[in-house]
Structures are given as C-alpha cells and as structure tokens.
Symmetry: C2
Subunit: 563 residues, 2 copies
C-alpha cells in the first residue's frame, strides 16, 4: 500500500530547511521524498499549504503519572502529535517489579504509538523505601532482548554511581554491554562529581533547571532533556538552549504529565508552541523532538521525513501554533482532521492483568492505627512544605500530644502517616506535617513516590482511617474524606497508580479531587495530592517520611520524631 | 594510573568552543575535564599554549591502498593524529576471503590505533570479477560478534540494491539486524534511485564529488564522508559543506591513500589543514573528524574530550597548521614531541599469516601467452584512458594484427592483459589500451581492482611475460621491465597487496616505480600503475578488461575484442 502526501512543505530535520517535496510511504516506511506523483501511489492526500513533519518523540516520560494505561495515554497524546515515547515504568515497577515492566510492554504492544521502555534503575529508589519489589541487574537482564527496550532509565542514585556502588554499576554496565543508553537524573550535580557520574556512562539528564547547569552537561558530553512536565515546567528557563551550539544536544521531554494538562494544553506540541511563542525557531524545537531525540537513544530510521524512515508523520496546519491536522503512525492514518480513528488496546495476558490489579495488601485501618504513643509537650520534627516546591523543611517545634494527639490547626500542624501496602507487613510511621492549610477531614493516596505505599494526611484519626480504607477498597487510588463522608475519589486499580478510564474521565475525577481539597480547607495555591505524593520520597531534601520513619535526607538517616 | 594535561585549551567537539580546562585521564579513559590539579594525578604534562583535541577518526579507508600492513599503516598515521580508522578490507577479502578479514583483525589487534572493520559487502565486486573468494551473507555473519566490527562496508552494487537483489539485501539486513551501520558507495545517484538506495538502509556515502550531490544526500538523511584520498581529493570541491546545516552530517575520510602521500602530506590532519587554509573554521573540520565520525557509526564514548570517553587525545601546537605534538592512544602517550614511542605489531597466527602470504597461484608466463589469435586488419574495442580520471572510453578503431600483433606506438595503442592468479584457472584476456604513452617495455601489477588478478600492459609480449613473471616470483607486487631487464619493483607479498616494509621504505620503492614509468616512456602526468589498477574494475565506465573479457560497463556485458 503506497500513500502519497502531495503539495506539502516538508520539515527537514537534518538541515532545518523547509522543502517543497512530495512524500511517498509504502506500508510502514517512507520510501521517497521528492518528485513523485499520483501514479506512484495507491492513495493520495493533498496537503497543500500544510507542513509535513516527523511524529514527536517524548524522550522521557513516566506514563503512570498520567494515571492512564498506555493505551489510554496514547489515545490522549496522539492527537498532539506524539508517535513515540521513551517510558520509564519506574512507578509500576516499584509496586509490581518485573511484572510491572512486562505489563507496560504488553499493554503497549501494537498500539498506534511506539512505546519504548527504559528499564527502571532504582527499584527501590533508596534503602529507606519499602517498595513492592526489588529489581536487581539480573532481574533486568532478560528485558534487553525485547525490541522496544532501549536501555536503563534515569539513574537517580547518583551518590551510588559516584561511589561506584556494585549493584548500580552492574546495571549500568549491563546496559552499556548491550549497546544501550543510560539516562541520568542528577539535579544540580556539577564539577568533579558530575564528571565522575558522567564517566560511569550516563548519557543525559532531564533535571536541569538552569541554562548554566545545562551548558556544563552539554560541554561534558551529555544530552540535555528539557523537561516541560506538569509539575516541573523547565522549558521557560531553558529556552536559550534552543540556539546552537546547544540545541542539537537537547531533547524535549515531559517526565511527569497529568491527564488534564495533556488534554487541555498538549504534550510535546505544547513545548514546541511555547518555544515558537517565545520567538525561537519552531523547526529547532521540532528537531529536538524528533531526530535529536532518536539520536539520543541510538535509534536509526526514526524521527525524520526521509527514505527508509518509519512513516510516523504529522501534517500540521502551521508551524507556530503547531496545529496538528493528521497523524500517520507507521504509515497508517490514525488521526484525521484532528479526530482519532477507532482502535482497541491490546489484551494483556490475564495472569499479568490480575497481578497488576491486585497490588493492594493491607489490613482494614481503624482510628486507633493513627494514635501515637507519646504524651505531653515534646520538641518534634515536623515536615514543613515549601510553597510551589517539592523540597520540605525540617521544622523542629513543640507538639502537645495531649491536645488532639498533637494536631494544631492554628499552627497548620496535621498528622501524616505512611503505611506499607504491598505485602501487608504492617510497617507504618506517623509524623506531623505543616503547610497544607487543611482545616478538616483527611486525604489518602496510593501514589507516594517512589515506593507508593499508602500515604494519609489528616486533621483527625477517624477521617484518616476512613480515607485510607476507601483507597484500600478501590485497590488503590485517592480519596478525600471529611466527617466520615467521602468528598471525592479517584480509583486507580492498576497497581494503585493507573485508572481504567479514559483521559477525559480521569481528568474529570482529578478535577473533583482538586475541588475536594478546597472542601478540606486547603487553599487554592496548594496542590494537596500532588505534594502528598512527594512527601515520602527520601531523595528530595530535607525531611521526608517513610514506613521506616522520618528521614533526614541531607544526612540520609532516620531521625526520631521527637528530639 | 592517572595523567593530567594541564593548562591546555580543550577543543569541545560538542559545542565547537575552546575551553580552558585541565584534562584528567585514568588508564584508557578520560575521567575529568575542568578544575583538576597535580594532586589528582600520578603524572602531569604541562601543555600551556597548546590545544587538546580528540584523536582523529578516518571514517573510511582501505588500508591495503597504502600497501602497508595495519601495523605499519598505524606507525605512519599516528604522528598525523589518526587514532581510529574504519577500515574496509575489501581488497584483501577479494584475494583471501574471510581469511583476509581475519588477518586484518589479527594484524591490528592491540596496536596503538583502533582499527574498526567494516565487512566487505561486494566480494566479488561484480559478476565479471574472478576474485580469490566469494563472501556471502553467511560468511560475514560470524564477524558481527567481533567488538571491532562496526557494520557493512560500502555497498557498491547499487543496481543490486535498487533491484532489491536477494543476496545483497541479505547482507544489508544482517547488518541492520545487528544494529550496525551500512556504508554507501553510489556516485551520482540521485532522485528516485537514490531514495530507493537509501531506503534499503544505506546510511552514508563517500563518493560525492559536488556540493549539490552531497546536499541531496544530507537532506535525505545520509551522512556524507568527504573524501580526501590520494587519487580522489574531493575536499576542495566540497569545502562549502564545512558550514552548517551541512557540517554536522559530514565526516572526513581518505578511502585510498598512498604511503608517500601519508608520510609527506599527512592524513586526516591534512584535510583539516586544507579546510583551515581555505578560511573554514578548523574546529568544524575537527568535529567532522572526531565526534561526528563516531556518531556516524553509532560509537559511544569515542571522539571527544569528555568524562567517560576513550583517552584518544592529541596535543596540537596550533589549530590552523594542525601541528601535532603529542598523541595519546587509550591514555598511553604514543607520540611525544612528534616522535613515536617504540611498539611492536601483534603476531598473527601462523596459519593465517601463511594463508595471506601465499595468494599467488599462476603458472610461469611465456611470450606466447600474450599472442592473439586474430590476424589482418580488424575494427577493435580499445580501452582509451581519460587524463586524470578513472573512467575510460570505448574507442573503436582499426587494429592491424599482422604488425607487431596490433601494438601501434604511433597511435599509442598497447597490449593489456589480465590473468587470473588466485586459483590458477588459466583464465586470461588480452586487449588493447591507449593513453599510457608507454614507448617500451611492460608493467605488471597484482593490484587490479577489485579482483586483483595479474594485470600487465606492454609494448611487446616478451617484456609482458617478464614483468608478469617477476610479480609472480615476488608472490605479488609491481614490476616495470624493458628489454628483459627489471627497471623497478615493489614486492607486495601480503596477498599481493601489501608490503612487509615500513611506510618510508614502501614510499621509496613506489617512488622508484614511478620513476621507472618515465623510463618506459610514460609522460610525467600519467600515473601508469595507478591507472592500471583501475583498468579491470568493471563498475567504472565505460570499457574495462577482466579475465572473462572486455566489459562494456554501461551495458554490463562482455563485448568481443573485434566488432
């Protein structure tokens, strides 16, 4: 089957030129760019006045962060021109281990988007994380034979790399031995430590938040993934990288993207649009999102409109607004005039499906589970949130355990609990948190990076138990409760991280969840559930909470609640 | 062992910048670029006022064309800054088959230059070629497991590729299946045919002789290897490619380089020098010769001064003259102040050594072997050389066989013969050639692309036999004979293509050979032995001679000598 796109302007990502050329596809490949006509094709599409551009590639995303299954994610992202993603199933792997990776591979098999997989390098993320699985280098090894596995995902354990820790180096060396890429994750690392990290074989980083940081990495041979995620939109600060000599060493990635953001604002197209609106050359942004992304992963034959390349092709109405009219994936028109052609996600093998859907193992919670043994006034470590940031402060203040168990709404001090939920070990830690502004009820969630235990913040123990139990009943998800009533909920039955619903449905449920935050008294500029999700991640400074206790991140040690 | 290069200016091939930075190596790797000092190293080299640049990579060379073994080639090229080459052992493979490839791998094992091997794709080059071996896709397969084998070498059989010929496509698909590169060779191919050729998976080309030709290829996704060989110096015509958006898709290669040219003018350094002298940015040329060359072959960790990269490092006195002071190869100083540290080439396994040194199998020749059966005057096809080109004309003219067997010095018509020499089949063809200007004697050579049979041009049959016999006695080589006396000779015992001697010795012998051309009456602007070497290559238009007969290259068929 030969299809001709005629009268369009081809975006040449090798040279940055706009070319008047006909594009001929045969089955899933581009076979000609130049002087072709109707006689050469079985089917011709006139795209006069439009642009022909390679499909966009997101070089780093955790699909789980959209709360969508790979199929539903693709359904939402394809109309935005995304035809390939490099997905790191770090979240589901922390819950389900190798089965989680297998699930993501099976659930994306044959869908009209190429979902490449980068193997999660840090499961669990730290020694404090009581995750659902441990993935060793040996566990990852079999995945390298899968044609969609491209390497080792973000190596967050940079202290381990710098110390040449045996286990993390084994994983890195395996990827290199297989001729694959190793993605980095080392925010603010610089100088000698950065040299040492890079020299281990780490090819890129997506954590750069300043041009200076990015330039050092490019000079040292890394590629920089410019992240424009929902919670971490770095593109504005990094726009100067869209000029040479930096641009050709950069990619555009999303890392974490919420369903509503994806639907309302777009995906990689949104980043290109923002660059164009800032006066940057949109073709440079397109090159970052196509050929240069493919090059970062050593992918051949992907990311360009050229003979022999995969026919992942976008027809754009314009370059500055990046309005996407048609999307061809592997030569098949999947989005036509902005509307998706129907397709079904693949069937995942039942055992695997069952495995990822029965990830929640914890006993029913009661009010008593959230009482603390302390009494009287004591100096305690309180996790204090920092507005619009994921870092927290270690606030040492007096807590009067005899008054409402220490909860003090006047000082905005609430209870926070993390309960192990993978293997029903009963491990649990209760502490205090300040900065949410919550005035009543409780919120619970099974999204709690990176080990995704059950995390609960509340003004009282009864609502904490009720919220936690609701999440437990759903087999994972989020719930907001006040006075024993469920204000909003978002079921995430797939490993406690992903919904079964479509992107619009998830976005709507999420919207209701956000609205319920206001009912709990949380001010509009605080995203409670999002912040909760990072409160148990002991790699972001300064004080976090895990099932093993409060963690002083800077010193990498457990601290007692009371001084 | 840690070595520090301090106070130098680093050429950053990622950005094109010059950076003041210290470079720290540990064993064979660069481990740091930045703020380091003596305390970090076991040994410090002050390179104040000098440049630190990655070792040069020649992306496409036939080492056999230097007439040097890999070890002697390295000895000659290292002082010119070449630390890696992608060698296509096409010539020796046409003589010795897979044993020839194995020999090149063994003879370059452990030498202070990384000799990557591209597997010869066309052995024999054409159906007319009676070469010493036939290499099928199955024969090439085992080589892909060798760490220095990077892919499939120049696919000269472009008509076969365009026709999707089964055997050539099998070779191409094997390389792609192994995730390796496929080099192209398709001079002047354009438009639809070029699309078809590229779509088969051909990643680059080194045959571009015009900017226009090169631009079409870059736009279609190929990389362009700018060839600056001894006989085909294309760089001057292609200098405009040293500007963006073309430069980053280009490499500098030599393809065929003679020992004297290598010694006197240099290698890749000479190409960079020429670019600089033309007013181009030498750093752009250096980027082509380092990082971008590595990228073309999907090589990671080679071609840059950056953490984790192989410590192939040049210290240059200046950028415009490209004066090379020191060369580090895998962290070891191998050239110091322009002088090579001593090292020995590896021992090749005796069976293999014997194999490549006993490639000449042909009976002793006699005058009678060069007589022709025709008599009287007949219209004959004569190979007419075109000055300074490898193409020939098909000149149809009267030959009087009764006068000196057809030789006519007034009209510059001599005899040319090609005799099979690999398997002693006795196959032989005698024809006529015009354009050498030879007035007496004969010249014989075992370098006769691509099948490397014994080729002889002469004014009389006795000298033709004498010259041929001298080459036979040497087990391969070149010889010039007049009146039964040997005027000059160049023994090439290694497969009839390579000498055992050093580059200076080979250059000197070659010089004597060139001088002997004058003794034969050949004018100074004709390179007899070089032209001879291409007279039996039936892929260059228009009339060539093989053991099977005269070949009309345009029609790809054997033509009888007489009309």
């Amino acid at each position: 089957m030969r299809t001709l796109l005629k009268n369009g302007t081809v975006i040449n990502v090798f040279t940055g030129e706009e070319e008047q050329a006909q594009v001929l596809m045969e089955d899933d490949r581009i076979v000609g760019v130049g002087d072709y006509n109707e006689q050469d094709a079985d089917e011709t599409q006139d795209v006069s006045g439009r642009y022909i551009c390679p499909g966009f590639i997101d070089g780093h995303i955790h699909i789980e962060s959209t709360m969508l299954t790979p199929g539903e994610f693709a359904r939402a992202a394809l109309p935005h021109g995304t035809t390939s993603v490099m997905a790191d199933p770090h979240e589901i792997a922390n819950v389900c281990g190798a089965a989680g990776i297998r699930y993501m591979l099976e659930a994306s098999e044959g869908i009209p988007m190429t979902v490449y997989i980068m193997l999660p390098s840090c499961v669990p993320a730290t020694g404090f994380d009581e995750s659902g699985a441990v993935l060793t280098a040996e566990d990852l090894e079999p995945f390298y034979s899968h044609p969609r596995v491209l390497g080792l995902a973000e190596v967050m354990d940079y202290p381990g790399v710098i110390a040449r820790d045996r286990e993390i180096m084994k994983k890195i060396r395996a990827a290199i031995r297989h001729g694959r890429t190793v993605n980095g994750h080392a925010p603010l690392l610089s100088g000698r430590e950065l040299d040492c990290y890079i020299a281990a074989g780490i090819g890129d980083d997506h954590e750069c938040s300043s041009v200076q940081e990015a330039k050092e990495r490019i000079r040292k041979g890394q590629r920089v993934m410019i992240r424009q995620g929902t919670a971490a939109p770095n593109l504005r600060d990094l726009l100067p990288l869209l000029e040479e000599p930096w641009a050709h060493r950069c990619l555009l990635v999303s890392d974490d993207k919420h369903a509503a953001d994806l639907l309302n604002n777009g995906h990689i197209d949104a980043a290109i649009r923002m660059a164009a609106q800032d006066g940057r050359n949109p073709i440079t942004a397109i090159r970052m999102a196509t050929l240069w992304a493919a090059e970062c992963f050593g992918l051949c034959g992907v990311g360009a409109i050229a003979p022999g390349y995969t026919a992942d092709i976008l027809v754009l109405d314009d370059l500055h607004q990046v309005r996407i009219r048609h999307v061809y994936q592997k030569g098949r028109m999947i989005v036509e005039n902005g509307r998706m052609h129907p397709w079904n996600p693949p069937a995942v093998c039942p055992d695997l499906e069952k495995n990822v859907r029965s990830s929640f193992h914890i006993n029913v919670l009661s009010e008593r589970d959230f009482y603390m043994k302390q009494s009287g006034k004591q100096k305690c470590h309180v996790i204090r949130l920092v507005k619009h940031q994921l870092i927290t402060e270690d606030w040492i203040t007096d807590i009067d355990f005899d008054k409402k168990g220490g909860v003090d709404l006047n000082r905005d001090i609430l209870k926070i609990a993390v309960a192990e939920r993978h293997k029903n070990t009963g491990h649990k830690c209760i502490g205090f948190i300040s900065g949410t502004g919550m005035k009543r009820g409780a919120a619970a969630s099974s999204i709690a990076h990176d080990s995704h235990n059950l995390i609960i913040i509340g003004t009282n123990e009864a609502d904490m138990a009720a919220a936690g139990n609701r999440v437990r009943e759903m087999g994972g998800g989020c719930a907001a409760v006040a006075d024993g009533n469920i204000l909003a909920e978002l079921p995430l039955p797939v490993s406690g991280l992903m919904s079964e619903a479509s992107a619009p449905a998830v976005a709507e449920q999420n919207q209701k969840l956000w609205e319920s935050e206001r009912l709990l008294g949380v001010p509009g500029d605080v995203e409670l559930f999002m912040l909760m999700a990072f409160t148990s991640l002991p790699v972001i400074p300064h004080l976090k909470i895990t099932t093993q206790g409060l963690v002083d991140v800077d010193r990498q040690r457990i601290v007692p609640l009371c001084e």
